[in-house]
């Protein structure tokens, strides 16, 4: 199953996703998606390094639907984490799509 790596930014507390170039983005569409063990190991190593450098905390893998288009987490919890509270379209990363914050 394809996965992405997520964490929280230490300073901001913001939800973050590990990107292709091993940086962290608040937008899940920037996330590096992979279903290979080798890639995941590499991504987790990047996560560990970022943790050691006091950039992020609570790092874990998130399962993504195997479908084309931007990554969509399987679990409702992770979908809400990726977008923001469903009751406040203006809060969180979803705000960009709604054009308000």
């Amino acid at each position: 199953m394809p996965q992405v790596l997520t964490a929280y930014g230490l300073l901001t507390g913001q939800v973050l996703w590990l990107t292709e170039d091993s940086a962290w983005s608040p937008r899940i569409r920037d996330a590096r998606v992979s279903d290979s063990d080798a890639d995941m190991a590499e991504m987790e190593a990047a996560g560990k390094a970022a943790h050691a450098a006091h950039e992020v905390f609570d790092i874990y893998r998130v399962d993504i639907a195997a479908e084309p288009g931007p990554p969509r987490p399987i679990k409702m919890r992770e979908r809400i984490r990726a977008l923001g509270p469903t009751i406040h379209p203006g809060f969180g990363p979803q705000a960009e799509e709604h054009g308000a914050d």
Binding site: L11, G84, P85, I87
Partner: protein, 554 residues
């Protein structure tokens, strides 16, 4: 109200500086994650689903207008312009950064506020009746004892690492309990005996969460002077023999249930005998000194009711509706208690914007002794409004969307943050609350239904007190779908009861219809004068179960 003494001031500022240092040491790598996390929690800073969350204590639910303004300022400056009032008379900010938190704590300290005792396995912020000092049915002001307990419990060296969190509530009401006292680790009810002496009914072992338990009474009348020694004995016994091996079995309720209330009481009273006549004894001048902090504001001699009130009620049906539902009797003739609902139709229960908080602070300054109360139903109270000013207060509230006339009705939903914010949630709770307050928005209908407490939690931890709701709703996850389990017959008052599950959970798309069918079943079978809870107690859940799972074909 209570003002900090020098000790409090010094302790709180020291704490802010300490935390500032801890944050800096964490960012520089000197303090690891594992070392920093408990320090962060000790200062009320949690990590939630989207961001950090800062929980701020409102001791016994009483705020000055200056403090409320400061909360509004923090919401605006460091957060997204709002705050969330909780069922434990705390307030939560959902979007602070770690960087800003030391500054937020410093802003709070400026107005004698803090986040101490809002997290961790310590004695948490002690709550009290929101009508304290003004209720017609009270023995004396319960906040006196909440404050004494606060002073005793804050930084109590022996109790800073309990098996689990520990919650205390104090009520002094002779009539109805407004604190959910029987769902606390220690519940305290103030009594006065025939000789005119104050004493306390001490209950222990109540709680919600995974295993809801109604507290047992350990002692019917503990003399005033022995309040602290008795509580210390309870917490000491719990601290010594409460379980630490299993998170779900570590609350005092599990210990009291395992030993039986009689045996637990025996252990407590044995310990109590040993410490009763030590420095824990409360001298009566200490009690009087604290009592003075809670002296009532200056009241004028006013007509009761004022002559103009009848015409005002006649003239404006909306005002009359609000007056009927949200205004309660005050002990002082000519005055009233005004309840401010934070449950507008379709709104997020307990949320208030910075503008709303400032509007309430203004109204409190003009009309209510510059003081505000927070309720465990996530509403606010202006406790000292002259009846002649009620119209002006109502107009001021209405201008800011704070005049919903629904206190204690079905649309006054108590609701935890659920999966929209909370990392532990198994389902969303706020959208269900929004649908319910919308479905039952029509006041005439809600009045006909009458008093009905509806509580929603987004997981088994029960922060929304669903077990104590006349109707309780618990969100669960069934194969990645939100399902909702209904309980009926719960109640958080002196005659507390735990709601009974009526059957399998329902999908989110069906839950509000099911609740409506339950309400209709009630309207069909209630006897005259029966509240929803009374009917459920009389008939059991049978008729409601049928209405939900086997409705007659229409």
């Amino acid at each position: 109200m209570y003002r900090y003494d020098e000790f409090d001031h010094a302790a709180v500022s020291q704490r802010v500086n300490q935390f500032r240092g801890q944050v800096a040491r964490h960012l520089s790598g000197e303090l690891s994650d594992d070392e920093f996390r408990p320090l962060r929690l000790m200062n009320g800073l949690y990590s939630q689903l989207h961001a950090y969350m800062l929980r701020v204590a409102i001791p016994y639910g009483t705020l000055s207008s200056r403090q409320l303004r400061a909360l509004a300022g923090i919401a605006r400056k460091y957060d997204k312009g709002y705050a969330h009032f909780t069922t434990r008379q705390n307030v939560q900010f959902n979007w602070p950064t770690l960087q800003d938190t030391p500054d937020i704590l410093a802003d709070l300290a400026d107005v004698e506020m803090h986040a101490i005792q809002t997290s961790g396995n310590c004695i948490r912020n002690v709550t009290a009746d929101q009508y304290a000092g003004v209720a017609v049915d009270e023995v004396t002001d319960p906040r006196i004892y909440s404050e004494i307990l606060r002073q005793w419990s804050t930084f109590h060296p022996e109790f800073s690492y309990l098996p689990r969190k520990f919650k205390i509530a104090v009520t002094a009401s002779r009539g109805r309990d407004r604190t959910a006292v029987r769902f606390h680790d220690i519940g305290i009810r103030v009594h006065r005996n025939n000789a005119g002496e104050i004493g306390f009914e001490i209950m222990a072992g109540g709680g919600l969460g995974r295993t809801p338990v109604v507290a047992a009474t350990l002692n019917e009348f503990v003399p005033e002077a022995d309040l602290l020694s008795y509580c210390e004995a309870i917490v000491r016994v719990y601290n010594m023999i409460g379980r630490r091996d299993n998170l779900y079995k570590s609350r005092i309720k599990i210990l009291v249930s395992a030993l039986g209330a009689a045996e637990f009481t025996r252990l407590v009273e044995e310990e109590w005998a040993a410490i009763r006549n030590t420095s824990l004894r409360l001298p009566s001048d200490d009690v009087e000194r604290i009592r003075a902090y809670f002296a009532p504001p200056h009241y004028e001699t006013l007509a009761n009711p004022p002559p103009e009130l009848a015409a005002q009620l006649e003239d404006d049906r909306d005002f009359a509706a609000w007056h009927r539902q949200n205004v309660a009797r005050h002990r002082q003739p000519g005055y009233a208690i005004a309840n401010l609902s934070l449950k507008p139709v379709g709104g997020v229960p307990g949320d208030a914007t910075a503008e709303q908080m400032e509007a309430v602070a203004d109204l409190a300054e003009r009309y209510s002794a510059a003081e505000i109360r927070v309720t465990h139903e996530q509403n606010l109270v202006l406790a000292h409004v002259a009846q002649k000013d009620l119209v002006a207060v109502w107009q001021g509230l209405a201008a800011h969307g704070l005049a919903s006339a629904n206190v204690s009705l079905i649309s006054d939903v108590v609701c935890c943050p659920g999966l929209d914010y909370c990392g532990l949630a198994t389902a969303r709770s706020i959208p269900v609350a929004q649908q319910i307050s919308t479905r039952f928005a029509e006041l005439q209908k809600a009045w006909d239904i009458g008093e009905l407490r509806l509580n929603i939690s987004g997981c088994i931890n029960a922060c929304g007190h669903h077990h104590a709701g006349h109707i309780g709703v618990l969100g669960v996850d069934k194969r990645n779908e939100e399902f909702y389990q209904i309980t009926l017959g719960g109640n958080g008052e002196y005659d507390a009861s735990i709601g009974e599950i009526i059957g399998p959970g329902l999908p989110g798309s069906e839950i509000v219809d099911a609740i409506e069918r339950i309400v209709e079943a009630y309207l069909g079978i209630r006897e005259s004068g029966e509240r929803f809870l009374d009917t459920v107690r009389r008939t059991g859940i049978g008729p409601f179960k049928e209405a939900v799972y086997d409705p007659p074909q229409r």
